[in-house]
């Protein structure tokens, strides 16, 4: 049963610490998304990749957030330094997209981040 895997599922950290969230997309998918979900803002698109290349990271605070895909099986989202306002659930999703196929994204279970 193919699924998107996110680690860790929960993370509590102190303000100022570095946080790295990992995502293993579904094998064969060429698009990876990072979303952040909070009560106030709902679901926000932070960044997304096509064939490992970053296409849009305009939703991401550039000074402290970074997203990478070191290889096709791993996507990372890093926050350095973390702040309490970064507390949220971070979702990774993957999909298989082409010019004519607006396919859906499959979501992981999320990483619940708490910055104290």
């Amino acid at each position: 049963d193919a699924r998107v895997t996110q680690t860790p599922r929960h993370k509590v950290t102190e303000m100022g610490q570095e946080v790295t969230m990992r995502c293993q997309p579904i094998l064969g998918h060429n698009t990876v998304f990072w979303y952040r979900q909070t009560m106030m803002q709902g679901l926000e698109l932070l960044a997304y990749f096509r064939n490992r290349a970053p296409l849009d990271d305009s939703g991401m605070p550039k000074d402290r957030f970074s997203a990478e895909m070191p290889d096709a099986t791993l996507a990372t989202l890093k926050i350095q330094p973390s702040e309490p306002r970064d507390s949220a659930v971070y979702f990774c999703a993957s999909g298989l997209q082409s010019v004519m196929d607006y396919s859906e994204a499959f979501f992981g279970q999320g990483t619940r981040l708490t910055v104290v």
């Binding site: 998304f33 979303y35 709902g42 679901l43 698109l45 997304y48 096509r50 296409l55 849009d56 979702f91 999703a93 997209q97 082409s98 010019v99 196929d101 607006y102 859906e104 994204a105 499959f106 979501f107 992981g108 279970q109 999320g110």
Partner: protein
């Protein structure tokens, strides 16, 4: 600019009665539209999708949605609500982003409560 509007933040129905969750979209291109469901403390699961084939789309768990271009709507319905349908529902539009790329833009969500 492409966007999606969910007209109700909360909907409450009695078990066994019909469900209607409303969604309107704005898109410069022929849109692809999706409904996702999120149960408490869970990830997002695809309910159904519209990609320019049949305008009435059937999804999982008895849900369906009808694409109405003249009304720019994609409302989600179910004939008879079940207690297990209580969750948050997101309407999503796929936004053309140039080249062979598109990204998913989420609505603000509708929280469905089902009363016994």
């Amino acid at each position: 600019a492409q966007s999606v509007t969910q007209l109700d933040s909360h909907v409450s129905v009695s078990e066994g009665t019909p469900v209607l969750l409303r969604c309107n979209y704005s898109s410069s291109y022929s849109p692809s539209l999706f409904w996702y469901v999120q149960h408490p403390n869970k990830g997002l699961q695809l309910l159904l999708k519209y990609t320019s084939a049949a305008t009435l789309v059937k999804g999982i768990n008895g849900f369906e949605a009808e694409f109405k271009k003249s009304e720019t709507s994609f409302h989600l319905t179910k004939p008879s609500a079940h207690m297990s349908d209580a969750a948050e529902y997101f309407c999503v539009v796929s936004v053309y982003h140039g080249g062979a790329t598109n990204k998913l833009i989420f609505g603000t969500g509708t929280l469905l409560a089902v009363q016994p």
